[in-house]
Symmetry: C2
Subunit: 95 residues, 2 copies
DNA sequence: ACTTTTGTTTCTGTCAATAGAAACATTACT
DNA sequence: AGTAATGTTTCTATTGACAGAAACAAAAGT
């Protein structure tokens, strides 16, 4: 079986806390922060911050942001859906 | 909120297929294969292959394997639990 | 149409993960 | 105890993600 599918399968049965622990186990500190940054970039892109704005606020280069933008261009992207859901939750609370 | 926790939270609501798609979106080809290899290493360690055996079969260096071994030494490791579960499933089928 | 802002690509250099190889440590077997 | 097998660490070199900076492209505002 494809390893990533196997991992996905396993993860899908876990709680949020367990997934968090799993990621901390299998990824390095650096990879965790890389991933965090990618997530932040996606969120800020979704909030329509300009790329240069994001670059300076997160201290990342533009090439990284363009990559994030490419992900979000796919209207069926899972990431896009997740981020929008998070955004909606947030708006519910603060509205 | 901590980004990784947010990601974990989001992932925990997804199906295995969606998680798989999400990982393909947010990780590079290379990172996917890195992750796959780490997973294979953990599985083979759990099956008590020798480290040198794993190294030659997966074409990875020993330092990478030692790292995997360290993860599994923690008896509460989530990865360990997941791998054991996969192992058990497999045994059920082939027994 | 011109200018400004924003998005995207490209170039060189840097850094972390890790390959490859060897050394050292520990355990198992006799 | 001595030897072989296995686990772990350490060294140098390599590689991919990405920073920093600049160039180019597209869109928006005037």
């Amino acid at each position: 079986m494809n390893e990533i599918k196997e991992i996905s399968n396993s993860i899908s049965k876990l709680s949020a806390e367990e997934i968090n622990a799993f990621l901390a186990e299998i990824l390095t500190e650096n990879e965790i922060s890389t991933l965090s940054n990618r997530w932040r970039i996606l969120k800020m892109l979704n909030q329509n911050f300009s790329q240069r704005d994001i670059a300076s606020k997160l201290n990342v280069s533009l090439c990284k942001i363009t990559r994030g933008a490419k992900i979000l261009k796919n209207k069926n992207a899972i990431s896009l859906r997740l981020i929008k859901e998070i955004e909606n939750e947030y708006n519910k609370i603060t509205r």
